[in-house]
Amino acid sequence: MARASEFNEQDVVARCLAGEQEAWRELVTRYQDMVYAVARRVAGPAAEDAAQETFLRVFRKLHTYRADSGAKFSSWLYRVAYNVACDVAGRRGREAPLPEDFEGRYDGPGPEDLAAGTEYRELAREALASLRPEYRDALELYYLMGKSYEQVAEITAMPLGTVKSYIHRGKKAVLSSLRRTGVADSLAGGM
């Protein structure tokens, strides 16, 4: 994958608009992980379809992206990815927020972590599934985007205040879920 410092997104976008095939390959390669991650969080098992459709839609709509508006291309792209994933998921119809192969990173690995890691993945799935869809989307995008409220607001087209409120409520719901289920005790006990 190209390093961020070597990747000039405006240059690549311009070359894509000029129809340069290699530029499209660079763009897809550069953003595939994040687009896939967004698709995965929103569309769950249909992530592959959603992620592919995202790039197809970008191909058709790239001429509508306005670099001079000040919006970063990546934000515009993730917004497309979010919208496509919502469409593919039937908007808010998804049952499970995380696919079966969701891999939760487990900091501070120890000898008990194999069992605890499995338990944690279950915990994360349950905690997120208990959230209202709008809280869940906002919260997951918030972490994916490096805890940037502004970027979540850009992607979801929601007011900044609403995004902050959703994320705060989402976090509280997760914390309540952790406390209520008592899994935190057993988990942290093994850490």
Binding site: Q32, L56, G104, Y120, A188
Partner: protein, 160 residues
């Protein structure tokens, strides 16, 4: 003294909590074992949520194979193959123009059948036995072609 609920609020506030609140929460976590564990579990949750796993192997190639590079662009005259207007606008204009044309043809056929028949005869060898019917048929044909063309454009051409 801070209670467990207040502790939850501060953890949920994250970076928005003040340094003083963070310090109070830390102090509470040192004294309250349950909240200390909760904070660790939540930190693990946040770390996992920030993970961006790599896209599946071959994903980029599958996407590239689906991008109609050079195909759409060639016949649509645009580098990205993108239409300058939304598809429904183009389809609507085409259908509207053809409908107007059909109305004009029908109008002339009905208002002055003799002149219309003469005009038609000048283009065709066989004279129309009934100019009204013939004119209506031409109008209907043009309208049908317009509708079919617009529908074909809307459903067959990739775009918005």
């Amino acid at each position: 003294m801070m209670d467990c609920e207040r502790f939850t609020d501060i953890v949920a506030a994250g970076e928005d909590a003040s340094p003083r609140e963070v310090e109070e929460a830390r102090e509470h976590a040192r004294r309250c074992e349950e909240c200390g564990r909760l904070a660790k579990a939540f930190a693990a949750f946040e770390a996992a949520s920030a993970e961006v796993p790599p896209a599946p192997a071959g994903f980029a190639s599958r996407v590239m194979a689906r991008l109609p590079l050079g195909r759409e662009a060639a016949w649509r005259g645009s580098p990205t193959g993108a239409a300058p207007f939304p598809k429904w606008v183009v389809s609507g204009i085409a259908a509207g123009a053809c409908a107007v044309l059909a109305c004009v043809v029908s109008y002339f056929a009905f208002s002055d059948p003799a002149a219309f028949a003469a005009t038609v005869e000048s283009f065709a060898d066989a004279a129309a036995p009934d100019a009204n019917v013939f004119g209506s048929m031409i109008g209907a044909f043009v309208a049908a072609v317009a509708v079919a063309g617009s529908l074909a454009y809307y459903y067959l051409v990739p775009g918005d």
